[in-house]
Each structure stands twice: as C-alpha cells, then as structure tokens.
C-alpha cells in the first residue's frame, strides 16, 4: 500500500499541490483524474523521487520513505512512465531500457548479451517486433511510448505509475497495454494511471482520485460513478457535450485540392497517390494509426519538404509551389503541429510574443515593431480562445498543455489563413479544454475556413468532421461522409491489410 | 583573491611615494623578453624606484592600453620594448605629450624624437655576421633550411633579411626549404622532422631564434644527422649557450638584454636627476657566439 499524506509542492509562482492525501492499494488500478495543470504529474513525480523537496510524507508498506532521486525510488520498487518521452535518441532500445541499471560482468564491463536478451523478451511481451538494437530515433512515437512502458516493466517494481501512457499510441498498442495492466493487477502490484481519455479509465481503473487546482476534491471507486459525474468532479460544473449540427458544406466551392501526391523518401514510400479536396467551411478529418503518414501529408502540403514529393496542390485553383512554411503562411495555409514542445512553442518567450510572431511585419509600423498592436492582438485571442494565463508576459513554458495549444492556435489564426491544419490538436488535453477546442473548430468552420483535423482518436474525429479521410500506410484507404461514418468501418479501413 | 589585491595594493601604496617606472615589454611569452623585463625591473629597484612590468602580448593595441593606463596612474618614466617599430610610435608620442620620458630597449621605433633614448640590439647586422659565419662553416656551398619566427612579426623578417643579405651572394648555397616555426621549440622540431623527409641531404639550418634552433637540433639528432648538419640560432639563450659548449649548436647571436635593460634603467635615473642630452640611438652590437669564443659568454650576456 502506498500512502501520500498532506503532500504539498510549490513552484515559483504556482502552488502545484496543496495538502494532497491519497492511498494506492495493491492489486488495484487507481485513476488520477484532473484538468491540465491540476497537479497530476507533479504528484507522481514526487512519488517517484523526481522532486526531492516537498511537504508532507509518503508511506510505502507502512514505512515512511523519502527519495533523493529517481534511482532511490526505483530501488524501493517504484517505477514510472513519464508523461513526456524520456529516451535518448541515439542509443538503442536495449541501452535505453537498461540506462542507469546496466548489467555488468565481473570486470565491471557491460554484459551486452544478457541485456539484449532480456530486452528482446520484454519487447515480445509488449508485441513490439523490432530488433533490440534499433536506435530510438528510428522508432515512431508510438513505438517509443512502448519502449517507455518496457522501461517501467524491466524491474519487477511494486508500484507502477503511468502518466498518460496512451497519449501517443494507437488502439492496437493500447489493447496490449491493457492486457499487461491486467497481469500486473493480478500480480497484486500497485498501479497509478493518468489519462485524459475517460473511457479508458472506465475500462481498467478500479479506484479514482480527482485533483483540482492541486487539491484532492474526491476519491472513490469507478463503479460508483459515470462519465458525466467524473467530468463534473474535475471541472467543477457540467459541460454540455456538444453535438454537431452543421450547414452542409458540400455546396461551397472547392478551396484546397491535392492530386496524385507521392512521396518517396529513400526506399520508403511515405505517401502514395494521395488525392482529395477540401471545401470552404468544411472540416475534413483525417484518421489513421500511428505511422499512417498523416503528419507527413500535412508537412508536404505546408511545403516542409520542397522538391521531395510529386503531385500537385492547388489553393482556390492556383497551383501552389511552396518552398517553406513561410510561403505557406503567405498563401494562407497554417499548421498547428503535432508536437507542441518540439515544433510549436518558443518556451522562453512570453505569450504575447508567441502569438504575434508570424505577423510581426504586417502589424509593424515602418519596419519597427508596434507593441500596442501586439498587445491588442494578444488580448483579442486571450479572450476569444479563453487562454488561461496570469498575464501576457508569462513565459509559455509555464502554461499548462491545453493553454499552450491555444497559444499556438492563436498564432496560426492571427495570420488569418484560408486553410487551417491541426495535427492531433487535443493530445494530452483535458476533456473540458478539448470541448472548447472542438467548439472553436466548428466556429471557425462556420466562418468559412477550410479545416483539416488529423487525429488518432475516433470519437474526436467523429465529433468534429464533416468528412473523414482514412489513411493507411501512406495511401487513402477510405472516405466517409459523416452521415454514413461509423467506428467499425473507419477502423477496418485504418488497419493495414499487408500483415 | 581579494587578499591578493590587497597585498598588491599595500605593495603599491605602501611607504613614501618613490618615483614609479613602468616597464612595457612586447611579450612575456618568450624568455628573452622575460629576462629583459626582469633585469630592467631589478635595476630600477636597485636605483630606489618602484617599478612594474606590463606585458603587451605582442598586441600593439594592448600596448596602447598599457601606455594610457601607465600615464593615467602617474608613472614617471617608461622603459619600453616595442611590439612594432611603426605601430608603437603613436604610443610613445602620447607619453611624451604627457611629459613622461620613454626609453626604448632592444627594438627601435621609427621616429626621430619621440623616445628620449633608444638602446637597440641590432639583429639585422647581427644576422649579417651570422650569415658570414654560416657561409664560412658551409664553405660557400650546400643546401640549407631557414626556420622563420612568427611571420606577423617584423623581427622575423629583420633577421631573415640580414641573413640573406649575405648568404644570397653565394649561388651554391641553396635554400631548400623556408618554413615558419613561430619562435617555438616544439613547432621547430616537428617542422624540421618533416623537412628532413623531403631533404635528408641538408648541410645547415638557420633558425630565427634559439628556441627554434634547439628544436631543429633535436630533430636532427633523432634523424642521426647531429653534427653533420650545422645549426645556427639567435638570442644567446641559456639552452643555446650550453648546447654550443657541448659542441652541438654551431653558433648563436648574443644580444645583451642585461646590458640593454640596465642601461635603460640608468638613463631613466639620470633623467630624473636632470640629464637631458641622451644619444638618440645607442646600438648595442650583437656578438656572434660560437665554439671559439663560447667561454666568454653566459646566458644573455658576457661572463664578468
């Protein structure tokens, strides 16, 4: 049994946790629920020894423990899958899994054979069939996520914490993870599970703990609650599930058209003969499993790989030949990238600057910046997108995931685009914010933007899109108007035939 | 570190204020100049003055800073080893305008009146003599190698020119390689090793300073050519003198930094005492030191 008593943690400016108490019981899966910034990860980081300074105490099996660093926590049998991937791109799977706990022979030299074998075993258990010597950078995000899981399973830990383990993996892999969690539960391990995908929680969690603004608002067993109840507990009020009533967009004229797009990188056929079109005011959902080539498609459209692909892309009938995202923005195409931290934000700069970045020139006066215009711009989006930030001078790195996403969205909208492309717009974002973003998407569509939404979450796709394009191994494997679209057909289309 | 400063300060401010002499030297990266500077400092002290050494690190701009700082902090005279004959003139003028006498040591600045006196060791003619000796030892024919100093330094070229002004009159003396070794012993050794690959058949080496001469000598020894190939250096540094004693190096040119430095310090002293008519240029001849007269010399000077 793992008990947290009156845990408190403050960062400069924020109080992340305020006397949080809870119990994690053996043989049960406890769901930690809360909005972005509620303090879930912080709490887990304290339990796993990442943060050594905190108020309150932690009891493991009745005895108080205090970890100076993650290693000590590991040795005490607590392992964690962090929310952000923590892998070394240029080391192999084996080396990453054994990092910091290498097996050595009696000369203190690495025992590579043993490590490779145990890795292979783990990968088999996780049904990830790639050689243990593959470099991490050669893996897809989903596969990396699986490696993270393997890392946590290596040591037979008593306590296993999973912070949004499924945020980046696709259905198939999720299923595997569930099986493993079942096993662990059977073995009587203590499991903490964080996810913003509530339906998951109902599938595998036994107990729940709700955090709001760094405080525990409620604990209990999953059986006793339903979806809306949970949402109410974490948000503190009801949110109307929005249903999708839309003026048919088919009437509107064609905005963007892609014809026979092919992209061959080295010996890999990333995209094969992609042909589709997007109408004004239409939301086109693109579904597919990890590695189906959705992000690549958006990147091509955005001109990130000039000259590497064939086929023609037209905007309002004009053939586009984009050399860079800069050209794309000029032409009226913008992308909200998949990986916020890596491709979206400039963490060190403040909210205002991040928002105005793309249009400094146009709001500038005679070549100089126009701070007043910047502030008005930022203010405008702060209100219209309901960005939660103390002030516009706040560095974006301190915002929670959802609000960071909104800042990027604001930057894109500021360029007032014709076509808005969103890649996994709600990854790692809580239900409430999710809903807000869905609303935004629909509103924007009304204002006759063309919108492309890429997502691995079927419900999400089904909520927002007018038409659904399914990608599989770089080819279009199905197109469904929302009227006729249903989960099974879409999934069928998404699963590769070739294995 | 604060402690250091304070000791520094008490040394600076302690006792009644004696006259202060600044010694600005082109570089302390080379023992020759260290010796020059330290002798001057010692002499100044002996004459009852407070003195401080400034290292220009071969950087004329830094030398300029030193002059300004020295003037600002009220030094009464400057013993000066210029980084560059032309570039340093402007600095000396500055001092002169501030009413501070400048006594040039070893290297000249080309201005008639800026410096109060110039005590020069004339390596150009020194190298002429070396050239003559070189011609004699190789009796007028053979292949030789020249090792240049830092190529951005006009001393390097003064020496090279002095040497060639003689040697080039003998067509049978062929220079098979001319490379720079930056006045550095290690570089000289490596360059020499490589040159020996291309020209194992050389008879002599002229090195722009003793450090390089020693390096060359070591390369030759390693190649088993010691003694067969004559090596000539320049400076009269300790290692070179000893090596000539042991019959290794053939010759070097002795400059007299000790004499130069002490003379300069004495000039300053006399200047304070009111003397004004100093010889505008006082060349200190450079002696050629070889096996024949070696026992008359020690490092950087004559035995006394």
């Amino acid at each position: 049994m793992l008990v947290a008593e009156k845990i408190g943690k403050r960062f400069t400016g924020v109080i992340a946790l305020h006397d949080v108490s809870m119990q994690l019981r053996p043989g049960r899966v406890t769901a930690i629920i809360g909005e972005n910034g509620a303090g879930k990860s912080t709490l887990m980081k304290i339990l796993s020894g990442v943060y050594a300074e905190y108020e309150g105490r932690i009891l493991l099996g009745g005895r108080e423990v205090r970890f100076a660093n993650p290693k000590e926590a590991q040795e005490k049998g607590i392992s964690i899958i962090h929310q952000e991937l923590n892998l070394i791109p240029d080391l192999s799977i084996t080396e990453n899994i054994f990092l910091g706990r290498e097996l050595t022979d009696r000369w203190g030299l690495l025992n590579k054979k043993a490590m490779r074998e145990r890795t292979a075993a783990l990968l088999r258990r996780l049904k990830l069939n790639v050689p243990p010597d593959t470099l991490i950078r050669a893996l897809k995000v989903g596969q990396q996520q699986v490696v993270e899981i393997a890392k946590a399973l290596l040591l037979e830990s008593q306590v296993i914490i999973m912070d949004e383990p499924t945020s980046a993996i696709s259905e198939a892999e999720v299923e595997i993870l569930y099986d493993i969690i079942e096993q662990l539960r059977a073995e009587g391990k203590i499991i903490a599970y964080i996810s913003h995908k509530l339906d998951e929680l109902f599938r595998i969690a036994d107990d729940f703990v709700v955090l709001r603004d760094g405080r525990v608002t409620e604990t209990g067993t999953m059986k006793t609650v339903d979806h809306d109840a949970i949402v109410r507990k974490m948000v503190g009020r009801d949110i109307a599930a929005l249903e999708h009533h839309r003026t048919q967009a088919d009437a509107a004229e064609e905005l963007l058209s892609v014809t026979a797009l092919d992209w061959q990188a080295g010996n890999k056929q990333l995209l094969k003969n992609i042909t589709f079109s997007l109408r004004r005011g239409e939301v086109l959902g693109i579904f597919g499993l990890m590695g189906a080539g959705r992000t690549e498609l958006l990147e091509c459209i955005l001109g990130l790989h000039p000259g590497e692909h064939t086929g023609d892309i037209r905007l309002e009938g004009q053939r586009l030949d984009l050399r860079s995202p800069r050209d794309a923005i000029r032409a009226g195409l913008v992308l909200v990238p998949e990986d916020r931290k890596k491709d979206g934000l400039i963490p060190g700069l403040d909210v205002k600057t991040n928002i105005s970045l793309s249009i400094l020139r146009s709001i500038g006066r005679n070549g100089l910046l126009n701070s007043k215009a910047e502030v008005t711009l930022a203010e405008h989006y702060k209100n219209s997108l309901r960005i939660k930030t103390p002030n516009l001078e706040q560095q974006v790195r301190h915002l929670s995931g959802g609000n960071q996403q909104k800042v990027i969205l604001a930057r894109c909208l500021a360029t007032d685009p014709k076509v808005l492309m969103l890649d996994e717009p709600t990854r790692g974002i809580d239900v409430n914010t999710k809903n807000e973003i869905y609303k935004l998407i629909l509103e924007l569509a009304k204002s006759s933007l063309g919108i492309i939404v890429v997502s691995s979450e079927l419900p999400e796709i089904l909520t927002v899109s007018d038409r659904i394009l399914v990608l599989c191994e770089g080819k279009i494997s199905g197109v469904f108007p929302r009227a006729t679209a249903n989960e099974d057909d879409i999934l069928k289309a998404a699963i590769p035939k070739t294995i | 570190f604060a402690g250091l400063l304070f000791t520094g300060c008490t040394a600076g401010a302690g006792g009644r204020q004696p006259k202060k002499i600044a010694i600005v030297v082109s570089t302390l990266n080379n023992p020759w100049f260290v010796f020059l500077a330290q002798t001057a400092a010692a002499k100044a002290k002996a004459l009852g003055y407070e003195s401080k050494i400034f290292d220009s690190q071969n950087n004329t701009a830094l030398e300029s800073d030193h002059f300004e700082n020295a003037i600002a902090s009220g030094y009464n005279a400057i013993l000066f080893n210029p980084t560059d004959a032309k570039g340093s003139v402007i600095n000396v003028k500055k001092a002169k305008d501030a009413g501070i006498p400048v006594f040039c040591m070893d290297r000249e600045i080309d201005s008639k009146d800026a410096a109060t006196s110039q005590i020069l060791s004339d390596s150009y003619s020194g190298c002429i003599d070396l050239g003559k000796l070189f011609v004699k030892t190789l009796n007028k024919k053979g292949n030789y190698v020249e090792l240049l100093g830092i190529v951005s330094d006009d001393n390097t070229w003064n020496r090279s020119k002095g040497f060639h002004s003689v040697v080039d009159n003998y067509p049978q003396l062929k220079m098979v390689a001319q490379q720079s070794a930056d006045f550095d012993r290690n570089k000289a050794m490596e360059v020499m090793e490589s040159i020996l690959q291309a020209h194992p058949d050389i008879d002599g080496v002229f090195a722009g300073n003793d450090a390089m001469a020693m390096g060359a000598w070591q390369a030759l020894t390693a190649a088993g050519l010691a003694g067969k190939v004559k090596v000539i250096g320049f400076d009269g540094a300790e290692d070179a003198i000893n090596s000539i004693k042991e019959g290794k190096l053939t010759a070097t040119a002795m400059q007299f930094p000790k004499a130069i430095a002490e003379l300069a310090a004495t000039d300053a002293d006399e200047y304070f005492k009111g003397k004004r008519d100093f010889p505008h240029k006082l060349p200190i001849p450079v002696d050629v030191v070889s096996a024949t007269n070696i026992d008359k010399y020690t490092a950087y000077g004559k035995k006394n």
Partner: protein, 324 residues
Amino acid sequence: MDLSSYRPLLTRFQSFIALLILCIALSLLSNKFLTIENGWNVLRQISVNVCISVGMTLVVLTAGIDLSVGSILAFSGAVAAGLLKNGIAWPAHDLFIGFTLLGTIVAALVVGAALGFFNGWMITRFKVPPFVATLAMLTIARGLTMLWTRGYPISSLGAKFDYIGTGWLLGIPVLVWISAVTVILAVILVRKTPLGRYIYAIGGNEQAARLSGIHINRVKIIVYSIGGILAAVGGIMVTSRLDSAQPNAGTNYELDSIAAVVIGGTSLSGGRGTIMGTVLGAIIIGVLNNGLVLLNVSPFWQQVIKGLVILLSVIVDKMNSKEA
C-alpha cells in the same frame, strides 16, 4: 514587451552589482582609478571589444558562435590601411586605383560583411556547425591578412584617418562615439524590429520558428554578416588608433568578446540575453584589465586573477538567476 525581461531583471542587476563592487574595491585600492581621465581610458579601451561583442551577442542569441571576429578584424583593418596607403595597382597594365578615406572604410566594411556572409553561408547552406565554420574562418582570414600584408605592418596612414582612433568630438573620444552608436543601433534592432524578434525566436526554438514562417537561413546569414561588419568596424578602430595595421591584430579577441557576452548574462544555448548585458560584461572586463594594471599586480598573477574574476562574476549571476 521589451526583451530585457527575458532574463529576470534581477540577474542583470547582479552583474551590475558585480561591476559596482569591482569599481569600489579598485577606487579604494588606487586613488588613480576614479579619475575622469582614467574613465575615458577604460571607455576608449573597451570600445573595440564592445563593437565586436555586440555582433557576438546577436550570433550567440541565435545559438551560434563566431570565433573568427579577431581574424576578420585584422584582415579588414589591413585592407583599409593597404588601400588607403597604396590603392590598388596593376603595374602590368599600368592601372592604378586610389581610394578616398570614405572609400577605404566602405571597402573594409564590405570585406568584413563578405567574410561574415561566408560564415553564415557555410552554416546554413552546408549545415557546418558554427563553431567549426568560424574556426576555419579564423585560420583563413588570418592567412589572408598575412598574404595581403606579407607579414609587415602597414603604417602612417595620415591624420585624417587617425582622427577616428585618436580624435575627440564634443568632448568625447570618437572611438567611444562609434561604440555608443553601435550599441544604440543594436538595441533598437533587438528590441524594436521584427528581425530582433526572429533572432530570439530562432535561438529559443529553431523548428518552431521555421513553422511560424521565419526565414531561418536568411536571418542567420544576416546575423553573421552583421558580426563580420562589426568586426570590420573594430578593425578600422584599432588600425586608426595605432596609425598602423598589424598583421597579428585581434588575436584572441574572440575569447574576450565571448567572455563579455557571457558575463553579460547571455546564454550560449541561445534565445536569452541582452545587448546592455554584454556592454556591462565588456565594461567589467575593461575595468578589470585597467584596475589590475593600476594596482601593482604582477603580469603573471593578473592572468590568474582575471580568470577567477570571470568565474566569480558568472557565478554571482547564476546564483541569483532562476536557472541556477
């Protein structure tokens, strides 16, 4: 918003404190330190480093580095001197081009810009790491200087030219004017123009900057060219101050200027820092050099102390900044 707020003001306040402490200590130790004349000395002496370091700051803000400033300084200085004195002549076709003062200055700046551009081009077009590209340029430009001067200084360039380095204007040395103007322009560039923003953005997250439609390569090339131009400015300043272009001028200047940048609190990983911070850093170094000379510290000890003070000032800074 002004970019100075990118580093918590506190820390810049700290390096300011460091400077104050240094000054107070020195003025206690030597009554010669706090004199107007000495003040001008220090300012005149740092003016060159300030110009170079301003360029260096821009480069470092993009998460780059420029090791070639010293050599570029030497070469453009030599070019200016050479043209001014000898012009260009092809005895072969008895062709001769003379240069006016302005002409030579422009020529020098162009040379600096060209070499800087070459750096930027290597870095953006061929993805050569800045450290390597500019390291190569360090050697190349030095070699060019040697070839151009044949290893001899080029001297006596005439009163008009020397005025730049030695003259006064409205009671302030021309050198100080130049560096002051440079700083002001740089501050405007960094705080008030889109380009300035782009520089911070690129240093902060290059990929995100690219997706925001910033022309990464163009910005970088511009920045390295500016670095080259400012090095050339420095070259002209040094040359005219000495009335002579020294072939080995500017050796190791890159180190001094990087030191100034870092002491000024700019992060070498880019995206964070200020021009004024760098100026502060340059002043600290200048005051230190000046002070160590005023006090009777032996040249050998000076090196040790200098190193320690640089460490200290950075540590003071770190300990009081959030990052630490």
